[in-house]
């Protein structure tokens, strides 16, 4: 009976949505205004405009206007959608991916987009001397073959489920020789490069030959680096810019009350954790000490007060929006100082003092450490907070493993493998908690080489539970991603990793 009611309600909702959708689309389509330049305030200067080299979020936000990949991430960030490839076939063994490229696409320099461009881009990425930070994403690829002008095949060395989502990071550059992509970017995207005056602006203009007919609606985009958060916010409030890529959390409430503005807030892929050095005393082979700290983290207070309500308590790395997220957890850590004390009493060794390394580059982590310091003092454990300059923090924690405990925020990708493998598999560069467990290694390897999503979900649930039992690290918070714009900015869809897709965005002015 209840199932029947639920089914009915679902059908009703679906019907309403289906009826409303075309009308809404029609209304939107009728009122779309074309032209105008969108001014975007960025919280920093981009590192480079070359999509094969850039490692910053601001760089990503700029070069994705100019370049496109074969596939793109969907707005919910849990899968990919076609972009320059219309479709693809995957062989039964999961080793061969054949992509059918969209016809009639042209680069901004007039060259037709063909399979040779995919090949030259791939070759560049894999060239060690070129030094692309995208290279590790494609080490599973054995080779690439050009079948014909509109068909390419990637042949993998072994089955690798995250391949498609990794392919999203391969932005195609034309094979035309002699182009310096760091100064004169040439892509197939909706906007063409005009100029980049360092410290001043990056100007893009509408690509009139864009292959998606009628798009983009905007006449151009201008990105301006405005590093000082207060200035950025006033620039938005006074209409000097139309969109901010980053909003100081403390200002979100004020901006939300301004009728001339709109604020987007979606579940992000960034989460904070407290990590333990599992390869050295006092945390090595000392699960009780790790659990004691995990139970002394007041996640709710951190979410409500430190992050102004723009966060949610976390237990596992994958966010709620990801298909691999699960609530079927056997041993989630809460905030219970009695339980923390009981774990601490059973710890062996039972240190009286522990040092946590944090970086003031991320001030929230320092505040989290201070909050934990108060909680741990109540169970008799002295937490010393050591603040390090960011690059020193990376050297100590990531490179040298010279630490006892750390707190940091990290970002994830689309596939659950991004959230687990590199952080927990033995010997991985990013296994900063120096955790090494043969069973976990095997589980992670199996999960990334299995192609069936429902099977993988079960595997990642098992991985999550093993992770919580072993507690090599403990998650604290999932962060909300927040952006803000003026009220006349229309049809902008925000994602949890701050994508800027302006193809169908328009200005109502």
């Amino acid at each position: 009976m209840r199932a029947g009611v639920r089914s009915f309600v679902f059908s009703l909702v679906l019907l309403v949505v289906l009826l409303a959708a075309p009308a809404a689309h029609l209304a939107s389509a009728q009122s779309v205004k074309t032209g105008g330049t969108l001014a975007v305030g960025l919280d920093g200067e981009i590192d480079t405009i070359d999509p094969l080299k850039s490692v910053t979020i601001v760089g990503f936000q700029v070069y994705t206007q100019i370049y496109e990949g074969l596939v793109a991430a969907n707005p919910t960030l849990d899968g990919v959608i076609p972009r320059l490839a219309d479709s693809w076939d995957v062989s039964a063994d999961g080793l061969t991916y054949t992509f059918h490229l969209h016809q009639g696409v042209r680069f901004h320099n007039g060259k037709d987009f063909k399979a040779e461009d995919v090949q030259s881009t791939f070759t560049k990425i894999m060239d060690k001397d070129f030094g692309s930070p995208r290279r590790p994403n494609f080490t599973a690829v054995d080779h690439l073959s050009v079948v014909d002008d509109s068909t390419v095949q990637f042949v993998l060395a072994h089955a690798y489920a995250p391949f498609l989502t990794q392919l999203e990071t391969m932005y195609i550059e034309p094979s035309t020789p002699g182009i310096d992509f760091s100064t004169t970017p040439v892509g197939t995207g909706p906007f063409k490069f005009v100029e980049w005056i360092s410290g001043q602006h990056i100007q893009l203009t509408r690509n009139p030959d864009y292959w998606q007919a009628g798009q983009p609606y905007l006449g151009g985009v201008e990105f301006r680096p405005i590093v000082e958060p207060s200035t950025r916010v006033v620039d938005l409030q006074s209409g000097n810019v139309d969109l901010l890529n980053a909003v100081p959390l403390k200002d979100v409430g004020t901006l939300q009350q301004d009728s001339h503005l709109q604020v987007w807030s979606v579940a992000g892929v960034v989460r904070d954790h407290v990590g333990f050095n599992n390869s050295a005393a006092p945390f090595k082979d000392n699960p009780n000490l790790r659990q004691a700290i995990a139970w002394a983290v007041d996640r709710q207070t951190i979410a409500d007060q430190l992050l102004y309500g723009l966060g949610k308590p976390a237990q596992i790395p994958v966010p709620e929006t990801n298909w691999a997220f699960t609530n079927e957890l056997n041993n989630p850590a809460g905030y219970d100082l009695a339980k923390a004390k009981s774990f601490y009493d059973q710890a062996n060794p039972k240190p009286s003092s522990i040092t946590v390394k944090v970086s003031p580059t991320y001030p929230d982590e320092v505040k989290m450490a201070e909050l934990m310091q108060q909680s741990l003092a109540q169970i008799g454990l002295d937490l010393q907070i050591q603040q390090l300059e960011w690059s020193t923090w990376i050297k100590d924690v990531v490179s040298d493993g010279n630490y006892q405990m750390e707190i940091v925020l990290i970002s994830g990708g689309i596939d659950p493998d991004d959230f687990y493998y590199q952080w927990l598999h033995s010997g991985e560069v990013f296994n900063l908690v120096k955790y090494s467990d043969a069973t976990m290694d095997q589980m992670l390897e199996q999960a990334r080489s299995t192609l069936d999503q429902s099977q993988r979900k079960t595997m990642y649930t098992q991985i999550a539970n093993k992770m919580l039992d072993d507690a090599p690290w403990s998650h604290i918070i999932y962060r909300q991603s927040v952006m803000a714009g003026t009220a006349d900015l229309k049809d902008f869809v925000m994602t949890g990793r701050y994508d800027m897709n302006f193809r169908t965005v328009w200005l109502d002015r």
Partner: protein, 303 residues
């Protein structure tokens, strides 16, 4: 001057080398493998010994070559030359503003000692000196951009592109820079003017029946300017330091933002180049101030 600059060159190099952080890691991102990092470090010459690196850099500096940016690969001198006029304009307007306001306030204050005007100037001068530049900048933004809506909070427009917008953009950063200078100059020029006004030649001028304003603004001012000018010269370095902060607050594309971005990206050649150029500017300014003494006081001669 040459020994000072040589000292600066050594100090800049050592400071940059002692700073934590790895340019190769900054360039490749955190996911770089040790092999890739080693290759990039080699390409940057960071695997050579310090003396070797210093020697190569010094030879370049002597020949006017400040090297190339690790990030953009452009020549450092080109990057600096693109930004330097913006900072110099800002510093000059800030200096003129600070000097005119500060010296005028100091002279008025000195000529009306222990009056309400004198107290008001002293309090305002103290305010100017004590107010952190970035904080004053943010207050200006809140007032003129948010509440009054007169000026843009950020955004630089080239003079050749739109002179009106250019000056709209330069007003607040110059004010923020000039306020500190005005404060300190007001205090110094007041003290200096009070001393000058007690000198015999002033009494003589007054005794000759000259108007008080002529005595103060024509005769006394020039004589009281020497110590003030010394302060002005010394403050120019502080002003350039302030420009780094002010440019950041107002998103102004000068060498200050170039320096801060380079520091965050561990772009050492740019950091070294900017610090060297700024230090050279300060040294040159002090030289100009020394030369200006001879104009202000003909009794001063340099052998």
């Amino acid at each position: 001057m040459i020994p000072v600059l040589l000292g600066v060159v050594v100090a800049v190099f050592v400071m940059v080398k002692l700073a934590p952080g790895d340019p190769a890691a900054a360039l490749l991102g955190v996911q770089a493998t040790p092999d890739e990092l080693a290759r990039v470090r080699h390409a940057m010459g960071l695997d050579r010994s310090w003396p070797e690196q210093f020697g190569i850099w010094l030879m370049g500096v002597v020949h006017g070559d400040l090297g190339a940016s690790y990030i953009s690969k452009k020549p450092v001198s080109e990057l600096i030359m693109a930004r330097l006029p913006v900072t110099i304009e800002l510093a000059l307007i800030g200096t003129v503003l600070g000097a005119v306001v500060g010296i005028t306030a100091g002279v008025v204050s000195a000529s009306r000692r222990y009056s309400r005007t004198d107290y008001a100037v002293t309090i305002l001068a103290l305010f100017g000196v004590s107010m952190p530049t970035f904080w004053f900048g943010i207050l200006l933004i809140l007032l003129f951009s948010l509440y009054l809506g007169w000026l843009p909070a950020s955004g630089f427009v080239a003079l050749t592109k739109d002179p009106v917008k250019h000056f709209q953009g330069v007003i607040m950063p110059s004010l923020a820079l000039g306020i500190f200078l005005a404060g300190s100059l007001a205090r110094f020029s007041r003290t200096s003017m009070v001393e000058t006004l007690s000198l015999a030649f002033v009494k003589t001028a007054q005794g000759k029946g000259l108007a008080n304003s002529t005595v103060i603004w024509v005769h006394a001012l020039r004589n009281s300017l020497i110590p003030t000018l010394t302060v002005l010269g010394a403050q120019f370095g502080v002003l350039l330091g302030g420009a780094v902060i002010v440019e950041q607050v107002f998103a102004y594309p000068g060498v200050g933002t170039l320096l801060l971005t380079a520091i965050s990206q561990r772009d050492y050649p740019v950091v070294e180049g900017v610090v060297l150029v700024v230090a050279t500017l300060v040294v040159l300014t002090n030289l100009l101030v020394d030369l200006a003494y001879t104009w202000l006081d003909p009794r001063i001669h340099y052998a």
